[in-house]
């Protein structure tokens, strides 16, 4: 090659970036990370529904045993008082309200996230919406957890009452419940700070890069 030929070779280059984003590889990674994140959320929901079901079954069992007059056979000296039945009903409503609001919130969000195509950008948008929703619902979680904790408190109060355990036992139980409530909302906050916010930032940056007209 003469120098003129070298010059032709040099002039033949375009001004495209040296490397582009490997969208197929990126899509795979996005899907695998999303699956991991959704599994984490799924286990949290399972815990919510599981604990709701457990408490509701126990309340139903106590009410049924009381209805059939069998409380004496399980160690109680008396039937449930009117206010105790009312307390158990309030507990039921609190737990139902909690678990149903989680359930319907998720269902609504799932409908919002539905998209026809499985492109990388669509998947990214869906994951951004999903993560934003998960962060938003957890931001006010302390308030959201109050009803089920009140329900649990009432349930414990009634159980201790009918089994004849001294009501003084409530003195450590109430701070214990408050401690559990604070711990739970703190652990959710940690989840937001360490998992969800960085994930959202990563997804948004990626979206920005992919839609950058100069890339």
């Amino acid at each position: 090659m003469e120098f003129e030929d070298i010059q032709v070779v040099w002039n033949s280059q375009h001004d495209k970036p040296l490397y582009g984003v490997d969208e197929v590889g990126l899509h795979k990674i996005l899907r695998s990370k999303s699956q991991r994140f959704r599994r984490l959320i799924y286990w949290q929901h399972l815990q919510t529904y599981g604990s709701s079901l457990l408490v509701l079954m126990l309340i139903a069992a106590i009410l049924l045993v009381n209805y059939f007059g069998l409380l004496g056979k399980i160690g109680s000296s008396r039937a449930l008082a009117g206010w105790e039945i009312l307390a158990l009903l309030v507990a039921t409503v609190s737990w139902l309200q909690f678990s149903l609001s989680v359930y319907f919130g998720q269902k609504q969000q799932k409908n919002r996230e539905q998209s026809d195509t499985q492109s990388l950008l669509n998947d990214l948008d869906r994951e951004i919406k999903h993560t934003t929703y998960q962060i938003r619902t957890r931001k006010n979680l302390l308030m959201g957890f109050i009803p089920p904790y009140i329900g649990t408190g009432l349930f414990i109060l009634v159980v201790f009452g009918v089994t004849g355990v001294s009501r003084w036992i409530l003195i450590p139980v109430i701070p214990g419940l408050i401690f559990a409530l604070v711990t739970e909302s703190r652990s959710q906050q940690r989840l937001i700070d360490r998992e969800m916010v960085p994930r959202l930032r990563e997804l948004e940056t990626l979206r920005e890069k992919l839609t950058d007209p100069h890339r």
Binding site: M1, Q7, W10, S12, K16, L18, Y19, G20, V21
Partner: protein, 174 residues
């Protein structure tokens, strides 16, 4: 151009100039950095230097020449720092980012040319880029801060070296 440029103005100029000169920056990046990680790093470094230097542009040379100068000096500085760093730290291996792929199938002759440029020292690399991009000896001398005659001598040597190397490789069927 005034020194106390407002950030908005600096941003507007930067965002106008950078896309316009991307091709030029990619050439410099490719001549000084040889894997995707380093190329990304150097591109960021050059973009940062261009951003910082925008308020110093006085309009006494064409924007392209000025950006070329900033890019070349950034690349030479980056290259020296990287070399020192690599001498002090064992190479862990090239970091080929799994999410990056070559944007298009390259011309093997162009790959060869960049490889030859990479074998030159840092100053000669800059001189070669400027020469191949059609800058005059006077402009190259002003950009690199050396005399025109020195530029002439160096570029003749580089041209000779490139043509001899290409002929040698053609002879051996490469």
């Amino acid at each position: 151009m005034i020194h106390a440029m407002k950030t908005n103005e600096q941003k507007r100029i930067f965002e106008e100039w950078l896309p316009q000169h991307r091709g030029l920056l990619f050439k410099v990046v490719r001549a000084y950095a040889f894997n995707p990680h380093d190329q990304d790093d150097l591109f960021q470094e050059i973009a940062t230097q261009v951003w910082n230097s925008v308020p110093n542009y006085r309009g006494d040379s064409a924007v392209t020449t000025w950006i070329y100068r900033v890019a070349l000096y950034s690349a030479m500085g980056w290259s020296r720092r990287e070399r020192r760093h690599r001498e002090n730290h064992q190479a862990i291996g090239a970091d080929d980012r799994p999410l990056l792929q070559p944007s298009s199938l390259e011309n093997p002759q162009l790959d060869w040319l960049y490889e030859q440029i990479s074998h030159l020292d840092e100053i000669d690399r800059s001189l070669t880029l400027l020469m191949l991009d059609g800058f005059s000896y006077r402009e190259i001398a002003a950009t690199m801060g050396i005399s025109q005659s020195h530029v002439g001598v160096k570029l003749n040597r580089i041209k000779k070296r490139l043509t001899e190397q290409s002929k040698k490789e053609q002879k051996h069927g490469v």
